[in-house]
Subunit: 121 residues, 4 copies
Amino acid sequence: MNIAISNTSEKPIYQQLYEQISAQIVRGELESGYNLPPIRQAATELRVSIITVKKAWEELERLGLIYTVTGKGCFVNELSPSEKLHKRNEMIAKQMQNDIAYYQSFGLTLEEVVDLLKEIY
Amino acid sequence: MNIAISNTSEKPIYQQLYEQISAQIVRGELESGYNLPPIRQAATELRVSIITVKKAWEELERLGLIYTVTGKGCFVNELSPSEKLHKRNEMIAKQMQNDIAYYQSFGLTLEEVVDLLKEIY
Amino acid sequence: MNIAISNTSEKPIYQQLYEQISAQIVRGELESGYNLPPIRQAATELRVSIITVKKAWEELERLGLIYTVTGKGCFVNELSPSEKLHKRNEMIAKQMQNDIAYYQSFGLTLEEVVDLLKEIY
Amino acid sequence: MNIAISNTSEKPIYQQLYEQISAQIVRGELESGYNLPPIRQAATELRVSIITVKKAWEELERLGLIYTVTGKGCFVNELSPSEKLHKRNEMIAKQMQNDIAYYQSFGLTLEEVVDLLKEIY
DNA sequence: GTGGTCTAGACCACT
DNA sequence: GTGGTCTAGACCACA
């Protein structure tokens, strides 16, 4: 578990958590069947509230990336590489649609967006 | 004034307001010196609270896009086209940094991002 | 009449007016008996509201710097040089007390204030 | 938290709040990491509205003096003594420019200002 | 319990 | 009639 939490970020902590973990899962960093640390342990290590971790784990379950076995813990789902890729593209596309809507509201063309993107990347 | 407010959006109303208006200003739709509607009138038309409009107008002033004269009203600042362009890119870049951070967390390369962008745009 | 009005200043216009004129009077730039321009003319020239000019003229009268002759106009009071000096010091001292209170709230010593003052002046 | 609010002052309440607190921070009275009282509690104690306190806290955040963590509270930023000094001088200088402009409108020289200052201080 | 947002209505200063 | 400020109370997201 390699997670970076920022208290001053505009994103809520539980979102930072599930975004980073879901990224690690679809990238294959966290393998199928990987046993996520217990909520209490994760909360202690990351110095966040148990409720916050619970909320993040719940979101991961809702996304179909992990499953919970009561009394045993949470595990990364079995996902084929193609399924992972599909989920990854799904998540990215969802975000990108919002981003593009924002760019377009300022009247940016695709070329301008790409140019700015190359500059900042 | 052509504003669309969504009560279901995750963005606060005042932010929707200043984002749309700032976009209209830097796109040149609202000309320099344009007299924004009085906050009370805007509040009535948009069916939101005066304070909500006020907060949006304040942010626009902070962004250097409008100025307010007590007792007279609020007006769009005098901005040269290059200044508008600069402010636009500034706002976009700020947002784009967050977007890119998200894409990178999924391990996307610049090329992949551009490809996806072209697809969705 | 040599007045500079700023719409974007945080000071209300009527205050800008009476502050500048009172300064000109106690400095001797506007001589005793000088006939201030009619309210309507001043309002037109300065591009402000008649009400605003009226409010400034009233404040000047309240300060004992001008007097009004109904139907004839407003005139600068007869003031001896020592009276002018006294009024000047009075106005400055009043302002300076507020300024000093502000500086002191930040814990500045007299020496620090003087140093900063020399730097900015 | 040692705040004095004057309802008769010409300054708005929220400005009195952030001026006094910012002074306390740059003077070092409120240490880095200090947990400001919750806005509701502060509002009750100071007998002002929540929104008024919120507005003051927002300005403090904008000045780079505090940061807020949703659900946790507001905290004084980590600032080195030199940073504090810099921020202090920055705030003072901003105010002092207005003060000096006023003095100069009366034709005062730097020496006269300093003399008066020493007298009143 | 904490901050984030919003409402509806009010009073005041300024133009 | 305009903006500037303030109130008292409410609901929601977050920890």
